[in-house]
Subunit: 125 residues, 3 copies
Amino acid sequence: MPLVHIALRHTTPERIAAIRDGVYAALRASFEVPENDRFILVSQHEAHEFDYDPGYLGIARSDELVFVRINCSASRGVTQKKALYRDIVERLVQSPGLRPEDVFIHLVETARENWSFGHGAMQYA
Amino acid sequence: MPLVHIALRHTTPERIAAIRDGVYAALRASFEVPENDRFILVSQHEAHEFDYDPGYLGIARSDELVFVRINCSASRGVTQKKALYRDIVERLVQSPGLRPEDVFIHLVETARENWSFGHGAMQYA
Amino acid sequence: MPLVHIALRHTTPERIAAIRDGVYAALRASFEVPENDRFILVSQHEAHEFDYDPGYLGIARSDELVFVRINCSASRGVTQKKALYRDIVERLVQSPGLRPEDVFIHLVETARENWSFGHGAMQYA
């Protein structure tokens, strides 16, 4: 049910695959996401389409910054969200080798009834 | 007021137009959306930018999968959301001929005051 | 913390830069956004990927329409949102010279705990 959107500067398919794998693995391990509940869209941007502050909150970001927006149901608390943030960054540091400063995460929570996974049915209601 | 985002693999303008028309028609018929309240953005993705599970919840998805994200005001209940999901899929099966397994729908609800349709005014407050 | 997404037809980098600058300046001046809290993604669309009604609510939109979606924490009231809408439009009219009819704004509000700005930490909790 999470629908993930990853936004970054143009890069290689291999690097994008590693980021997708890491985010999915973290959702599985730290956010109680079921196996195979994997839906991830990626958008690649030119420099003038990708505007970030290189120092906000004292965090030194680079052009390798990755935005990870996760739309999910509103069923996790602060502790679990903290665990997810840590886990995503640990995995993306390991592969494809991102700097921990270069991972921006944002959750958009919605009701469980707000999803249809196919066939026009409301699978989660 | 719905702001729709459609994400899919690269395809033809004709196919995209049929999808846009079907989603708008379903919003009109099943979600009490006013005439001409039509705002739809489309993003087309390469294979490595478009990551979906081909079997989650027993639904056999293909590369023709279409993600339909609808940002709208929080004013409809479960019954109406179910009707919308069914209606979107029925219309997209008819034209452009999608498989019912290949339609993923997600609603993001916000307050009515969260929209400005032009002139910097808050038309719905 | 606002994560802004700007969607428009293909245009020049200069025009896009002016739009990014205007939205950020309005967020600073009218929405209590801290200095350097600037994160803006832009997507450019072909005609068949960009579907808008040219007259909904009596507002005459053109192909120069700009969608501004702002994901932010839920901490502002109606008065402040109205001020933001006005301010964004005033600035984009001034530069790059948009028509006031051609600015569509949408806010998506989330909890303060739903953000990580780097290092896998929850900076706002």
